[in-house]
Amino acid sequence: MSYTADTLQLLAPDGQRVASDATEQYLPYVDALGDDQLREFHRVMSVMRRFDIEAGNLQRQGQLALWVPSIGQEAAQAGSGFAAKAQDHLFPAYREHTVGYIRGLDPVRIIAMLRGQTHGGWVPEETGNFHLYTLVIGSQALHATGYAMGVAFDGKVGTGDPDVDTAVMVYFGDGATSQGDVNEAYVFAQSYQTPQVFFLQNNHWAISVPVRVQSRTPLFHRARGFGIESVQIDGNDVLASYAVTAANLDAARSGKGPRFIEALTYRIGAHTTSDDPSKYRDEEQFRYWQERDPISRFETYLRAQGEGDAFFASVAEEAEDVAADARARTLALEPPAAASMFAHVYSEAHPVMDAQREWLAQYEASFEGEA
């Protein structure tokens, strides 16, 4: 699948701005961006790509159980992540490292989870309302929809106060669109007119299965069948991702109900470090998308806007520092205490947890003093 006449784009792969009737409504969002914000888009995408490579290396060196690469999807994530307001809630799948970083998540928390230290790793209230990763494909779509129902019941929609009106955004992939939970989320969202944006990153692959197996219909068309207004964007265009997401979040916050964005992008790396794309990937398609890289495109644009070498060099240096810091802190992570597995299964005291924790402690103590 490649770009179509419907794919909304503000920045072409050659770094040139695109304008048409379709882009008109989104231009105010781009025009409002200052130079600092544009530089920040580039900085975050570049730093997170370098971090991603480092995390993959750490996995290969036996430091992580698994890594989930996100290379190639930085623009879809950075644009949409920057479009959200502080009070919005974001429900990721498990590849939205760049979104989490934007919301204040220390990316080493993601490493800790994939190293096998924890099944969570962060508290959404402390990470800009960026919720935990969900590994059961599509389950988070219903949590997001339920959360958005709660936002609506709380009256935090359509008040006109930009600091009060709240939206919820859920991330999911093309494979997830086949899951019942995602489709049930569409149903509940339209039924309760939730303040919500469904953000689909169509990266073309569900592990080894191409998106055409999930759907013969463009996925953003499918949303319309549920009564949800939808748009397809070039997910490797950070300006389109930002502006279209911002516009749709505004609509959701103002009480216009759920919206759907399909961001066409491409998973440049493997599904995870357990995968081998050479067994299934079409090389011609791969090259097509390599030529549409989100970061080099934006760099070309920024240079044309007058940004100089010094900025790009400083970003590259910061990216190296972030990677080195992530490596050092990963190697310093100590395994959790065994008793911690009993700690939070229930919120209130539980006799079975108490008994089994005690048993484990006594069992371990029985080995003390042994050679």
Binding site: S139, L142, G146
Partner: protein, 331 residues
């Protein structure tokens, strides 16, 4: 003892549940009811009858017909600070929601390392004896009792139904609330002034000396009938109402078995890998030197729940309970 007429009423279990839900909704405006047909219809068993009119459509939600959607959105609502009470229409229809219950609801508090509580109640009308069609008479509680992170309870009387639904809603943990359908309509006294026992306590409901029988939900009344019949023949049966299936409150049960030396476990669900199996294993482990006979199980057979014309043969009845009592006493 003189009873205060104002604080004791005779109600069906359905009406006791209605009153319990209403009391919880009065006490906390974050309590929401969600489910299929629970609005104007009041649910297929009328448990929520009148509640939408009383509390409004924003607190009694007729949801789309999708059990995973109901549970999954309830999780999101609970993350936002609500206390959803989900109604699953029938036992056999809970399975589309099984994934959200077991992989999400049960685990999210642990995954958040305690920073998130999910005070969600899932009401499940369950069990047979109502002559209904396939998927409408099952007892799936063991699936959920096997899942860490969930609490499971099942009231046997209108009184317990009234109090336990409120205690379940007040719990910070997810609670699966199994309502025995065949006990929905018999009336019983509800004391509105005193719950009598905590949510997760089991309780001796008839004192005896020769043998202990234990069960939960609908079968408790059958155990009491069996005990009354046995008494006429000179056998003294102690009856324990389990009330909570996760965690199981073993203390009263073990104390009873240590006195009687014999135990029969009864349930409608298939016997293999069940609540009854777990009780048999635990009692054998913890009261081994007190036992005069093996712990015997009386249960549904290990078949799919049969067509309604066969439910009499499938489900335990007083005769099968007494048959097991006789076998245990014969050791």
């Amino acid at each position: 003892m003189a009873e205060d007429a104002a604080t004791v009423q005779t109600l069906t279990m359905t009406k006791a549940l209605t009153e319990g839900l209403a009391a919880a909704m009065e006490a906390d405006d974050k309590v929401l009811l969600m489910g299929e047909d629970i609005g104007p219809l009041g649910g297929v068993f009328r448990v929520t009858e009148g509640l939408q009119k009383r509390f409004g459509a924003h607190r009694v939600l007729d949801t789309p017909l999708a059990e995973s959607g109901i549970v999954g959105t309830a999780i999101g609502l609970a993350m936002r600070g609500y206390r959803p009470v989900c109604e699953i229409q029938f036992d056999g229809f809970i399975f589309p929601g099984f994934d959200q219950i077991t992989t999400q609801l049960a685990k999210l508090t642990a995954r958040h390392e305690g920073a998130l509580q999910l005070p969600i109640v899932i009401r499940v009308p369950y069990g047979g004896h109502i002559g209904a069609v396939e998927h409408h008479q099952e007892s799936p509680e063991a699936y959920f009792a096997h899942t860490p992170g969930l609490r499971l309870v099942s009231p046997a009387t209108p009184h317990d139904a009234y109090w336990m639904i409120q205690e379940a809603i007040a719990s910070p943990d997810p609670v699966m609330f199994f309502e025995p359908k065949s006990r929905y309509w018999p009336k019983g006294e509800v004391d509105f002034s005193d719950p009598g026992a905590p949510l997760h306590a089991s309780r001796v409901v008839r004192v005896g000396t020769d043998i202990t029988v234990v069960g939960h939900g609908a079968i408790v009344s059958m155990l009491l009938d069996a005990a009354a019949l046995a008494e006429e023949e000179g056998t003294s049966i102690e009856v324990v109402d389990l009330r909570s299936l996760s965690p199981i409150d073993y203390a009263p049960l073990l104390e009873s078995v240590r006195r009687t030396g014999r135990l029969v476990v009864a349930q409608e669900a298939p016997g293999s890998v069940s609540i009854g199996s777990e009780i048999a294993a635990t009692v054998t482990e913890q009261a081994f030197y007190s036992l005069e006979a093996p712990v015997l199980r009386v249960s549904g057979y290990d078949t799919p729940f049969p067509p309604a014309k066969l439910e009499g043969a499938y489900l335990p009845d007083v005769d099968r309970i007494l048959h097991a009592v006789d076998r245990a006493l014969a050791y």
